[in-house]
């Protein structure tokens, strides 16, 4: 689960990770008021107006602007940024509409650095990565100049040790700015580690982490991602969700206990199990690519879905106007084929199927499942294997053209 920069910084503040002063703003008036307040608090009229979307690269995309002239200029910038369709390298070409701003104290930056903490699956540790190349995309630095990144791995039983923070600090050359800068950085790392574990983060990226003209270290950006599996012990996360940032269909699926990801193609997929769901998408593309046939979604109905969930899954697939055929691919283990068949038939009857449906059933109670489909009187075509199903799908989409 992703949250906004300003929300991430609120979590930072709770754990003592230093951040500039700032206030969220949802309207132009609020932006002006925030700038006035900041000027009074900091004695400087320089503020930064920052678009809040769940994607990085906002600066380059025109979503981060400095106002030197106080509240009036901040309001002007807010007018321009609020409501804009912000396109960055992380939003895709359509961009993301800006509905929230963060008004932040403008700081005099001495150096921009990079710091991130993440779960590293290969070492099975939380890793802290630091680089002198602040502001750059870390993927690019890793590919082109990997020597500029230092990574330390944290033993979960010992925690982040001060020597590890010092290793990172000296690799960044922080001693040049004075002893306090090294100490401040080490303290920031310790706070960040505590936050990472207690708040069940899966990734925290601070890009840039800055050294100020005064030698202080501060998090100027905050990209925080929580571990979805830990939701059960963080009821407070519910208040941090910004539905405008999520795919509406994906949210609806989640509420129904389904796992759904929207894609660009024209074949709706209903599958049990994440691996089989991915493989189903793969085989549709493999067989259909040269005919312009591709998956419209990833949908895993899970191991124990009931008839209602299958019906729900079906109705969600049908909502997409792009869908020209539906491929149901079930290998029934815990999930019995007759349950799936009943769900498919119920959905087809309730929703009125206007596109061809190809069903491939295998596993527990497969005979019963096939019989239910055959006896339904619906135009549902059976497939024997995944390949057979994918071939029939390609034919069906071609035929419906």
């Amino acid at each position: 689960m992703k949250i906004h920069e300003y929300q991430g910084k609120q979590v930072f503040a709770r754990y003592g990770v230093p951040i500039p002063k700032g206030y969220p703003a949802f309207t132009v008036a609020e932006a002006g008021a925030a700038a006035t307040k900041l000027a009074a608090e900091t004695g400087s009229s320089v503020v930064v107006v920052k678009a809040q979307i769940h994607a990085g690269g906002r600066g380059k995309g025109g979503g981060v602007k400095v106002a030197k002239g106080g509240a009036k200029e901040a309001e002007e910038l807010a007018t321009r940024i609020l409501g804009m369709q912000l396109v960055t390298h992380q939003t895709g070409p359509a961009g993301q509409k800006v509905k929230r701003l963060y008004i932040e104290q403008g700081l005099e930056i001495e150096r921009e650095l990079y710091l991130a903490a993440l779960v590293d699956r290969d070492s099975r540790r939380i890793a802290f990565m630091a680089s002198t190349e602040g502001g750059m995309e870390i993927e690019k630095v890793a590919a082109e100049t990997p020597e500029k990144i230092l990574t330390v791995f944290v033993d979960p039983i010992v925690g982040l040790s001060p020597f590890q923070s010092r290793q990172l600090a000296y690799s960044l050359g922080l001693e040049k700015h004075g002893k306090e800068t090294v100490a401040g950085f080490a303290k920031l790392c310790a706070s960040l580690y505590e936050m990472f574990v207690k708040e069940d983060c899966s990734m925290v990226e601070i890009n840039p982490l800055i050294v100020t003209k005064q030698g202080g270290v501060m998090a100027l950006d905050a990209k925080v991602t929580f571990d979805d599996n830990a939701e059960f012990r963080h009821p407070e996360w519910a208040a941090l969700v910004d539905e405008a940032e999520e795919d509406a269909v994906e949210l609806e699926a989640k509420a129904a206990g389904l796992n759904y990801v929207s894609l660009d193609g024209n074949v709706g997929c209903l599958v049990n199990g994440a691996g089989l769901a991915m493989a189903t998408m793969d085989i549709i593309k493999h067989v259909g690519e040269k005919h312009g046939v591709a998956p419209a979604n990833f949908l895993d109905v899970g191991g124990g879905a009931n008839e209602e969930q299958v019906t729900k899954a079906f109705s969600m697939i049908l909502k997409s106007p792009k869908v020209r055929a539906i491929f149901v691919n079930i290998f029934g283990g815990i999930m019995k084929c007759d349950v799936i068949a009943n769900g498919v038939v119920a959905a087809a009857k309730n929703l009125g199927l206007k596109v061809p449906v190809i069903v491939r059933l295998e596993g527990t109670n497969v005979e019963l499942g096939r019989k239910i489909l055959n006896d339904s009187g619906l135009r549902i075509e059976a497939a024997t294997t995944m390949f057979d199903g994918a071939s029939k799908i390609v034919k069906a989409v071609g035929g419906a053209q």
Partner: protein, 293 residues
């Protein structure tokens, strides 16, 4: 012969009184697995299905019944603790089916597991389990699709394992042991750990290895195969159509760098002598073609 589990495996089920635990414990018993005990705190002294004693603690269950393998159905909030309890009880194998354990819990579990130096092995979490056809089923896979034989199957995905097994069985080819290692980023046995056992098992003649996008486990498996395996291995990698940055169901199935896309993994596997099935429908036939030679 087989790996890890067989007729004499003595199983204790953690969370045997829950709905998933009781349902699948019964299914495993019907398959012929020896379920010798259950454990659920607060339910000690009762009997499951009239014949399996339930204990409050796992160590008590192990002491009384000599169970050597645990199957875990404890829900996510208590699952990591259940795995640690199994380590403490000293069983040789822990199979954790539970889906949705927080990764920070698994980081600690994994850290403890590494100190056990192989005395206890962990399969999962978020996996279908392990089966030696005709002898012992520990997990949620449909038993009837399997057939005794000589092909090992190892996979990160549950239903894709069934798909491979279904293909083998329909060709008349049986399996020695099938293992789902699970879809989480931090888990127990890796491809390498399982491949080592398949290589050493005289009754396993060939292997199907099924991976997916995300992480470096497939690449490490491929390096192991190139360096140490004399048996044919066919592979499949799911997720060629998955967009970067989107989590595909499994917490581990997300492309994070450049080396963990399906295309990169397929290339790596092929360069290490693994024949990769062109579609998920060809997993068994790809291995069979290698074995004919």
């Amino acid at each position: 012969m087989s790996i890890l589990v067989n007729k004499s495996t003595r199983i204790v089920v953690q969370g045997i009184t829950g709905s998933a635990g009781s349902f699948h414990a019964k299914q495993c018993m019907e398959y012929g697995s020896q379920i010798v005990a259950g454990s659920t705190p607060g339910r000690g002294g009762t009997m499951f299905e009239g014949k399996v004693p339930v204990f409050n603690t796992l160590s008590h269950a192990v002491r009384e019944t000599n169970a050597n393998t645990s199957m875990i159905f404890v829900p996510p909030p208590g699952a990591a603790d259940a795995i640690l309890e199994a380590f403490d009880a000293g069983v040789a194998l822990v199979v954790c089916i539970t889906e949705g354990i927080p990764v920070s819990d698994m980081l600690r579990v994994r850290r403890v597991l590494d100190t056990l130096k192989g005395k206890t092995r962990l399969i999962g979490p978020n996996c279908p389990g392990i089966i030696t056809p005709g002898e012992c089923k520990i997990g949620i896979m449909p038993g009837h699709i399997h057939k005794t034989g000589n092909i090992g199957v190892v996979s990160r995905s549950g239903t894709l394992t069934y798909e491979a097994v279904g293909q083998l069985t329909s060709l008349g080819v049986g399996q020695s042991t099938c293992i789902g290692i699970g879809g989480d980023p931090v888990a127990g046995m890796d491809f390498v750990d399982v491949l080592e056992l398949f290589q050493a098992d005289p009754n396993t003649h060939g292997v199907i290895m099924i991976g997916e996008i995300g992480g470096g486990a497939e690449a490490r498996g491929a390096d192991y195969i190139k360096a140490h395996m004399t048996k044919p291995v066919a592979g499949f990698i799911a997720g060629a159509t998955a967009p970067a940055g989107k989590r595909m169901g499994h917490a581990g199935a997300i492309i994070s760098g450049g080396g963990d896309t399906a295309a990169a993994k397929i290339k790596k596997l092929e360069s290490c002598g693994i024949r990769v099935a062109p579609t998920p429908s060809d997993m068994a036939s790809t291995l069979m073609a290698m074995m004919k030679k």
